[in-house]
């Protein structure tokens, strides 16, 4: 035994001595040629699977799994269902606000591109600072009001990192009937667009409360053809979570706009009788099915519309998004959206109507 210890000790000494020598042995460095091979293989459609690698020790994972199941069972046993429900049924981070609201749940592009040509924002210089207020009413087919909220939208001049920009500040309570005792979610967004071409620069979204969290934050920045950023949650009855945002946007579906800009969008477009075009409305980009939503717009008439803000000559526009048809009225003088009627809200007997109250 003593001999073994001595022998082992000497081998350990040898290992200690040889370890730096082994680590210092020269190894090749990856070159550009190797990367070019990789790119060429990917381009030619080569794919495959990598070996499955576990993320921890199996025994530990099993133990954690058993503990998780036990904890879940305990929660189910101790808390009645009614107390587990939170103020908002939707706890998965995705966009559900804005002028297009629920229809703007964006999703990954379809196999084919848009059928209409992209809208051309040729009148960016025509946009002016503005302050708008909208009412959003949900009612059923009998006309009974289910919910009514008001939202505000302010577009003002700004600079971001030295770039002349439009800053759009939106404040909107979450639409929809609330369960008894629930607190209505409020979303506050700050969006930046470059003034010269209306390209997206950045967006900060805050919703509070949000499900079981006291607040959710989504920070987006737009770099070339990608959305980058991060979602974080705060407070609530659970430890905060965070998710990175890194999405590439397909060129076929450009231009991309934020839903907060949609009420002013047509002010930058030369809308005429028979005009049509496509645009993609961005979501929060946290979930795979909430990155962007292709939207088609067609002028289907001209109409005088009366809303709380006044009576305006408008273009009557059919918006088609995700197989749903929405009627939208855009003021001819400045393109501002003054009314929207969505009668096909997820197959429910709920009609959503947005009206311009001020602006």
């Amino acid at each position: 035994m003593r001999w073994f210890r001595s022998h082992r000790a000497r081998l350990d000494d040898f290992a200690d001595a040889i370890r730096p020598e082994l680590a210092d042995l020269p190894v090749p460095a990856p070159g550009g040629a190797l990367w070019e091979r990789i790119v060429a293989s990917r381009s030619s459609g080569v794919r495959g699977i990598v070996p499955s690698i576990s993320h921890g020790r199996t025994k530990r994972r099993r133990a954690l799994g058993v503990l998780s199941v036990a904890a879940a069972a305990l929660i189910v046993a101790l808390f009645p269902r009614s107390t587990r429900r939170t103020s908002a049924p939707n706890q998965s981070p995705r966009s559900e606000y804005g002028i297009l609201g629920g229809v703007a749940f964006a999703q990954e592009a379809r196999a084919h591109g848009p059928t209409l040509p992209p809208i051309e924002m040729t009148k960016v210089g025509a946009l002016r600072p503005t302050s708008l207020e909208f009412s959003r009413r949900l009612y059923d087919s009998t006309g009974r009001t289910l919910d009514e909220t008001h939202s505000t939208l302010v577009m003002e001049s700004a600079f971001i990192e030295g770039v002349p920009a439009w800053r759009i500040i939106a404040h909107e309570p979450r639409p929809g009937a609330l369960p008894a005792g629930a607190v209505r979610e409020i979303e506050d967004d700050t969006l930046f667009l470059a003034r010269d071409d209306l390209r997206l620069l950045g967006n900060a979204i805050h919703v509070k409360p949000y499900g079981r969290y006291s607040r959710i934050n989504v920070a987006q920045r737009f770099v070339e053809d990608s959305i980058l950023g991060r979602m974080t949650t705060e407070g609530g009855d659970s430890r905060g979570v965070g998710r990175p945002i890194a999405r590439q946007l397909q060129g076929d579906y450009a231009p991309y706009v934020n839903d907060r800009f949609v009420p002013m969008l047509l002010g930058a477009v030369d809308v005429r009788p028979g005009w049509s075009g496509s645009v993609s409305v961005l979501g929060w980009a946290v979930r795979d099915d909430d990155v962007f939503m292709p939207v088609e717009l067609r002028v289907v008439g001209s109409e005088r519309v009366t809303v709380p803000a006044g009576t305006f000559d408008c273009w009557r526009i059919l918006i088609r998004a995700r197989g749903r048809d929405i009627l939208y009225w855009s003021r001819k003088t400045d393109g501002v959206g003054v009314r929207l009627v969505d009668e096909t809200r997820r197959g429910e007997n709920v009609i959503r109507e947005v009206k311009l109250v001020r602006g």
């Binding site: 040889i18 495959g48 990608s226």
Partner: protein, 182 residues
């Protein structure tokens, strides 16, 4: 070395952000991951296979498959996960190429400070070491894996990993001290 049009913002992204972007097929994000991790992956593969071409094939195959693999990748240490994937790919390549038994020293590799003769001797000792022993030696003493991790990677017990390391060190010492074939 910048492998592709990797913009400044890719350098600033975290591993998770790059992994998320690369999983969608974003080649710039994949390029950023390549720049960040390919050197270590190539080194690991080379130490296991001792042939540059074979090691490059492992890195190539890993990166070609990476976007799809990242869709299933869960949060964790991306670098550690990639190293383990590399080890598995290299071991698989070694098994499929076991009959070839070609060991070459790449002339282009430059030796740093120290005695180049001693380093060549060490390389030769490694090259003629039983591949099963060499794998454990490399993974434990150079790559820093624990015996538990090595056991999982090689599909052996922790005890076997310890025994193989002991034998590898003994054989290596014998070769270096006496010129004795391991």
């Amino acid at each position: 070395m910048i492998p592709a049009r990797v913009d400044r913002h890719e350098y600033d992204l975290t591993d998770r952000e790059l992994a998320a972007a690369a999983s969608t097929g974003d080649m710039r994000a994949l390029g950023a991951l390549y720049e960040r991790y390919a050197p270590a992956m190539l080194a690991t593969a080379y130490r296991l296979l001792l042939r540059r071409q074979d090691a490059e094939d492992v890195v190539h195959d890993t990166f070609v498959r990476l976007p799809e693999a990242l869709r299933r990748y869960r949060d964790g240490n991306l670098g550690a996960w990639l190293r383990k994937v590399t080890v598995r790919m290299a071991l698989s390549a070694r098994r499929s190429d076991a009959n070839r038994a070609i060991v070459t020293l790449d002339e282009h590799l430059t030796y740093g400070s120290g005695d180049p003769t001693a380093r060549v001797a060490l390389e030769q000792a490694l090259a003629v070491l039983n591949p099963a022993l060499r794998a454990v030696l490399v993974l434990k003493e150079i790559e820093g894996f624990s015996h538990a991790e090595i056991a999982e990677l090689l599909d052996i017990s922790e005890g076997s990993s310890q025994v193989r390391l002991h034998r590898a060190l003994r054989a290596l010492r014998a070769h270096l001290e006496k010129g004795e074939p391991p």
